[in-house]
C-alpha cells in the first residue's frame, strides 16, 4: 500500500511539475471565471448560466487533465525510458499501475476541486445557493465518470504502442461513452439485427458515460434521479474501474520490455 501511495505521490507531483499541466489548470480556472462574464449576457438566468458553463468546463478540463497527465506519463515511460528505472526497484508491476491510476485521479480531483470552488464563489456572488445538492451531485458524478474513463485510459495505455494512437483511442472512448445510450435507443427502435448486435457490443464494452451525466438534469422540475439509480451507477463505476484496472495490471504484468 505504501508503495502504491509513493507512486501516486510521484505521479501527482510529476503532473504539476509539467508546465503544460499548469497552463491547463490556469485555463480551467479562467474558464470557471469566464462563466461570470457569460452570465452577464443572460438577463434573469445568471445563476443557471454560471452553473451550466462551470459544469461543462469542469468535465471538459477533467477529461483534458486525464489525457494530458497520461500522455506525459506514457511519453516519459516509452521515449525517455523512465519505466526501466521503476522496474528495477522493489515494486510489483501491479502496484506501479495502481499508483499511477491513483496519481492521475488525484490530479483530476485537485483540478476539479479548484474549479468547483471558483464556481461556488461565483454562484454565491450571483445570489444563488452554492451548496445546492443538485450541483454538488452533478460535479461528483461528473468526476466519477472521469475516474471510469481514467481506468480505461490506463488499460488502453498498456496496449497502445504510441502516444498519438493512445490519444485517438481515449478520445473515441469518450465520444462513444456519451453516445452509446443514444445509439442503443436508435437501433432498438429501427435497425436490423446485425446493426443491433454491433451496437450492443459497443454499448456493453465502452463505459456508459451518459449514466454519470447529471449536468442536464439539474434544472428539471422533477428533480434529480432516484437514490436507487444513483446506487446502480456507483456500483457500475466501481465494477468498471475494478475490471479495467485488473485487466491493465494483468496485461502490464505479462508485457516484456
Amino acid at each position: 500500500m505504501s508503495r502504491i501511495f509513493a507512486v501516486s505521490k510521484y505521479i501527482f507531483r510529476q503532473s504539476f511539475r509539467n508546465r503544460i499541466m499548469n497552463v491547463l489548470i490556469i485555463f480551467a480556472v479562467f474558464a470557471a471565471l469566464f462563466s461570470l462574464a457569460v452570465s452577464e449576457l443572460a438577463q434573469e438566468a445568471e445563476v443557471k448560466m454560471v452553473v451550466d458553463f462551470s459544469l461543462f468546463a469542469i468535465e471538459l478540463f477533467a477529461f483534458l487533465t486525464v489525457v494530458l497527465s497520461m500522455t506525459i506519463q506514457i511519453f516519459e515511460e516509452t521515449e525517455l525510458k523512465t519505466l526501466m528505472l521503476v522496474m528495477v526497484k522493489p515494486i510489483k508491476r501491479s502496484e506501479y499501475m495502481l499508483g499511477k491510476y491513483a496519481g492521475v485521479i488525484l490530479t483530476v480531483l485537485m483540478n476539479a476541486a479548484i474549479m468547483t470552488a471558483v464556481m461556488m464563489i461565483i454562484i454565491r456572488l450571483k445570489g444563488g445557493d452554492p451548496w445546492d445538492i443538485k450541483i454538488l451531485a452533478a460535479v461528483s458524478f461528473s468526476y466519477l465518470g472521469i475516474c471510469v474513463l481514467a481506468a480505461v485510459a490506463l488499460l488502453l495505455s498498456t496496449v497502445s504502442t504510441t502516444v498519438p494512437s493512445w490519444v485517438i483511442y481515449i478520445t473515441l472512448v469518450y465520444a462513444l461513452g456519451h453516445l452509446t445510450v443514444h445509439l442503443k435507443n436508435l437501433v432498438d427502435s429501427s435497425a436490423g439485427e446485425a446493426v443491433r448486435v454491433v451496437v450492443d457490443f459497443i454499448y456493453y464494452i465502452v463505459p456508459n458515460l451518459e449514466l454519470f451525466n447529471l449536468n442536464d438534469k439539474i434544472n428539471a422540475a422533477a428533480g434529480l434521479f432516484a437514490p436507487g439509480y444513483l446506487l446502480l451507477v456507483l456500483g457500475y463505476a466501481a465494477l468498471y474501474i475494478t475490471v479495467s484496472l485488473t485487466a491493465a495490471c494483468f496485461i502490464f504484468d505479462e508485457k516484456e520490455f
Partner: protein, 235 residues
C-alpha cells in the same frame, strides 16, 4: 501465473464484467423510464446539428443557454424591433428544443409574446409546450391562466388550468384565491361559498384565510345563497 490460478482469475474477471453489463442494462432502463422521450436521440427528436452534438456529448443545458442569449440579443436589437420581432417564437423554440427543462425560458418567452408583443396565440403555444415537457411545474399553468385571464378573458379555459395548478402540492396560495374569484363569476353563489369555506378550513396561508373569510361574508351579505345557515354552521 499457474494455470489454475489463471483460470480462476479469468473466471472472476468475466463474472465481474457480466455483473457490470447487468448493472449498465438496469441503470439505462431506469434512466429511460425516468426521462421523457426527448432525452434520447431518436429519428424525430432533434433536428439541428448543434442539438444532436449537445445531446450526444451531454451539454444540452449549455446549448440552451447559448440559444437564450441569442434570443435576448434578437429581442434587444432595433432591427428585429422594426420587424415586430416576427421570429421571436422560433428563437424561444430553439432554447426549449435544446433543453425542454428550462422552465424560465417558457415563462419569460411567453410573457414577452403576450404582454409586450400582444401575440397571445404564440404565447399560449410556448406555455403549452412547456407544460407538455414539465407537467409538474405549476408556474407554467399559472402563466397560461394569467395570459388568458388578463388579456383574453377566456375564463372557462383559465378555470381548468388553475384547478390543475391547485392540484400540485407546491402551488402558491394566490392560485387558490384566483380560482375563488373566478368561481364567484362563473359558478353559482352556493358553489363559490362552499369553495371559500373549504379554503378557509384547509389553507395554511394567513392572507388566504383572511381573504376567504371576507369573501364569504360578502357572499352571505349579498343574500344570494340558498342555504346560508349551512355555511354559517360550518364556519
Amino acid at each position: 501465473m499457474p494455470p489454475l490460478k489463471r483460470t480462476i482469475f479469468y473466471f472472476v474477471i468475466n463474472a465481474a464484467f457480466a455483473l457490470m453489463c447487468v448493472m449498465n442494462f438496469f441503470a439505462t432502463k431506469e434512466l429511460k423510464s425516468s426521462e421523457p422521450k426527448w432525452y434520447f436521440l431518436s429519428a424525430h427528436s432533434y433536428t439541428k446539428f448543434s442539438q444532436i452534438a449537445a445531446v450526444s456529448f451531454g451539454y444540452r443545458a449549455l446549448l440552451a443557454d447559448a440559444e437564450y442569449i441569442n434570443m435576448l440579443q434578437y429581442y434587444g436589437s432595433s432591427k428585429a424591433a422594426g420587424g415586430a420581432h416576427k421570429d421571436l417564437l422560433s428563437y424561444i423554440n430553439a432554447i426549449t428544443d435544446a433543453e425542454p427543462d428550462f422552465t424560465f425560458a417558457y415563462t419569460y418567452g411567453a410573457a414577452i409574446l403576450a404582454f409586450n408583443l400582444k401575440r397571445y396565440d404564440e404565447a399560449v403555444e410556448v406555455i403549452k409546450k412547456g407544460i407538455s415537457y414539465n407537467p409538474t411545474f405549476w408556474k407554467l399553468r399559472f402563466y397560461l391562466g394569467a395570459i388568458i385571464y388578463s388579456r383574453k378573458g377566456d375564463t372557462l379555459k383559465l378555470t381548468g388550468l388553475l384547478e390543475q395548478a391547485a392540484g400540485f402540492s407546491d402551488h402558491p396560495a394566490v392560485v387558490d384565491r384566483m380560482l375563488g374569484n373566478i368561481y364567484e363569476v362563473s359558478k353559482t353563489p352556493d358553489f363559490a361559498a362552499r369553495y371559500w369555506l373549504k379554503l378557509l378550513k384547509t389553507t395554511n396561508d394567513t392572507e388566504t384565510k383572511k381573504y376567504s373569510a371576507e369573501r364569504l361574508k360578502l357572499i352571505i351579505a349579498a343574500g344570494k345563497i340558498k342555504s346560508p345557515a349551512l355555511i354559517l354552521n360550518n364556519l
